[in-house]
């Protein structure tokens, strides 16, 4: 029973080095066919030409916070343009000693926005906080009380202006867009026509022309002596513009709703308002979160167009910095900084939207 022959000991070999680990991944993905290998080599050459020079320009040979004269002699990036001019880039024409005011106003706005993200906070008290916050922000920006110097709205500039125009633009445009979309679906011909005409006309013109009209043409129609604040006009133009695009996206979401949902709501005896508010809109708006976010991101970046009506948002203040003879020629550094700034804001909005979608997912 016990055999004198032992079973041969098994040899545990190592796998071939080119099939596993890093080399294995390279072999399987980058060099698996001849054309992939050629592409890999081409990309490697391109990266070799581009990346080391960029790194030495941006990080190795660069200066970070020196007076403008020091920048003339170096080969690398002159990042000093940013720290040296930061208060003008961010706050624009706000008087020097008063810059804590727009700074605090922005912090209050960001604080309220972050606080509102948490759905546990969505109670009546949230509305009260926002109301108080808005009043405080308005007072800080305009001044006139508690010994704060008055700063006219035309002087509001830089990042506070960008945030304000885009935030209030998005918040007002969204409900308006939803109403327009519902109106366009209406069976009443007057309402439907009104909504269609509005949407198609607004979508047919660029935002620049709307800003132009609001700033130049609109005052011509006003009676003598009555002026409407320029920032308010720009704000209204942005709201009206964004609302038209939101309306079409929401209409797409409404069309995606199955008739059965309407019929189930009807058969329970819900009226139109209840059906829309409780059943249809929660589902339709959830479906169109991705394209809605796209429109809101565009609205945020389109605030840079207010330069056309002589309002100084953060893009324009950066350009003004560059027109200073001391700092001309360092536009690359300035625009890279601006791009990073916009990117941080847009990425924050985008990642919030992804989290929102995930939290609303109810396991279909």
């Amino acid at each position: 029973m016990s055999a004198p022959n032992t079973t041969p000991t098994r040899e545990y070999l190592k796998p071939p080095v080119t099939e596993v680990g890093v080399l294995g991944w390279l072999h399987g993905n980058l060099f698996n066919t001849w054309y992939n290998s050629v592409l890999t080599i081409l990309f490697a050459v391109v990266l070799w030409q581009v990346v080391p020079p960029f790194i030495s320009w941006a990080f190795i040979d660069s200066v970070w916070n020196t007076p403008s004269e020091a920048c003339r002699d170096i080969e690398g990036a002159c990042w000093s343009i940013i720290p040296q001019n930061i208060s003008f880039i961010i706050f624009g024409f706000f008087p020097d000693g008063e810059q804590w005011r727009p700074g605090s106003a922005m912090l209050i706005l960001l604080g309220l926005v972050f606080f509102s993200k948490n759905s546990n906070h969505w109670k009546k008290s949230l509305g009260v906080y926002w109301l108080i916050g808005l009043i405080v922000m308005g007072t800080l920006m305009y001044g006139g009380v508690f010994g704060m110097q008055v700063v006219e709205t035309a002087q509001w500039s830089g990042l506070p202006l960008t945030f304000m125009l885009s935030f209030f633009g998005m918040v007002a445009a969204y409900p308006l867009g939803v109403l327009l979309a519902l109106g366009r679906q209406s069976k009443m011909p007057a309402i439907k026509t009104l909504c269609v005409v509005y949407i198609e006309m607004i979508r047919g013109v660029p935002l620049i022309s709307l800003l132009f009209m609001s700033s130049i043409m609109f005052p011509l129609f006003l009676p003598e002596g009555i002026t409407i604040d320029k920032v308010l006009r720009a704000q209204v133009a942005i709201i009206l513009f964004t609302a038209a695009y939101i309306a079409e996206v929401v209409r797409g979401g409404l069309q995606a709703m199955s008739r059965g949902q309407f019929e189930a709501a009807d058969s329970l005896g819900l009226n139109y308002n209840q059906t829309m508010r409780l059943i249809i809109l929660p589902q339709a708006l959830k479906i169109v979160i991705p394209p809605s976010l796209g429109i809101l991101l565009s609205a945020f970046k389109d605030t840079s167009l207010v330069v056309i009506i002589a309002l100084y948002d953060v893009l324009k203040t950066t350009k003004v910095t560059l027109s200073n003879p001391k700092w001309t020629g360092y536009s690359t550094e300035a625009y890279i900084f601006l791009a990073i700034l916009y990117f941080i804001c847009c990425y924050a909005m985008s990642s919030y939207s992804r989290k929102l979608e995930k939290s609303l997912h109810t396991g279909r």
Binding site: S267, L268, P282, G363, R364
Partner: protein
């Protein structure tokens, strides 16, 4: 339930809960329902059968105004269905409907699906609505799923939830539009059992279905519709064993 045990809860001498008089309906030029006359007494169970396209679903959808009729009268519990939206909403709150494809609200939990109607239409306080909803969920044997979402339930479970949702509105009449046609055979039984329980408790029911076993055991009347008309109408025993009309005989031969 055999013939002797089946309670005929119908009281023919009281006013009918649903009255359809000479009703016609057109889709554009197409005459989909022709001269429909129907009286449903409180507590009656009626099964409507027929080939597809015969207008049976359209008929019951006219009763809760999901479809409009162009000629004739439909009177539900004393209220006539016209273009007056107040009448329509009044009727809809008293008539429950169960759909072929369930039509639950996917963004709400099962419990919220049930309490939505009572809270917003009948203005029931939330606590009372929750209690009532749990009671009906127990009744359809699905109480443990109360906090799940419809997408997490099987078809048979969803349909039972849909029945419970309609019951929460305490309707006078329940309409069923092919409630088991979208279900697997195993799930059909669990839904039919719930419907049989409902029938035994005296609920007035109009059921469009192909489940002839259900018709035989539960129905007070079976109506056969073809091409927009009521071709034959009889009690189940006579309907299945002794069909009068040629078209009825043809239909029965195809499905039995």
């Amino acid at each position: 339930m055999n013939e002797t045990e089946k309670q005929t809860a119908a009281k023919p001498d009281t006013a009918p809960i649903i009255e359809v008089n000479s009703m016609h309906k057109w889709y554009g030029d197409f005459h989909v329902l022709s001269d429909i006359n129907l009286k449903v007494a409180l507590g009656e169970r009626i099964v409507i059968c027929g080939p597809s396209g015969s207008g049976k679903s359209t008929l019951i959808r006219c009763i809760n105004r999901l479809e409009e009729h162009q000629r004739g009268q439909i009177i539900v519990n004393g209220t006539e269905l016209t273009n007056d939206i107040k009448n329509i909403e009044k009727v809809r709150a008293e008539v429950g409907m169960v759909f072929q494809h369930f039509n639950l609200f996917p963004h709400l939990t099962i419990l919220e699906n049930l309490t939505l109607g009572p809270i917003w239409v009948r203005k029931t306080p939330k606590k009372d609505a929750d209690e009532m909803a749990m009671m009906y969920l127990e009744k359809v044997h699905i109480a443990e799923q109360a906090l799940k979402f419809p997408g997490q339930l099987s078809g048979g479970q969803q349909q039972r939830v849909a029945i419970a949702r309609s019951l929460c509105m305490k309707p006078e009449v329940m309409l069923f539009d092919e409630p088991t046609s979208a279900l697997d055979p195993e799930m059909i039984k669990e839904v039919l059992d719930v419907m049989i329980d409902l029938a035994e408790e005296g609920m007035t029911m109009l059921v469009v279905t192909h489940e002839m076993g259900f018709a035989k055991s539960v129905a007070d009347r079976v109506m056969f519709m073809d091409e927009g008309q009521v071709v034959e109408e009889n009690n189940p025993h006579d309907f299945f064993d002794n069909p009068q009309n040629e078209r009825t005989k043809l239909f029965l031969s195809q499905i039995l």
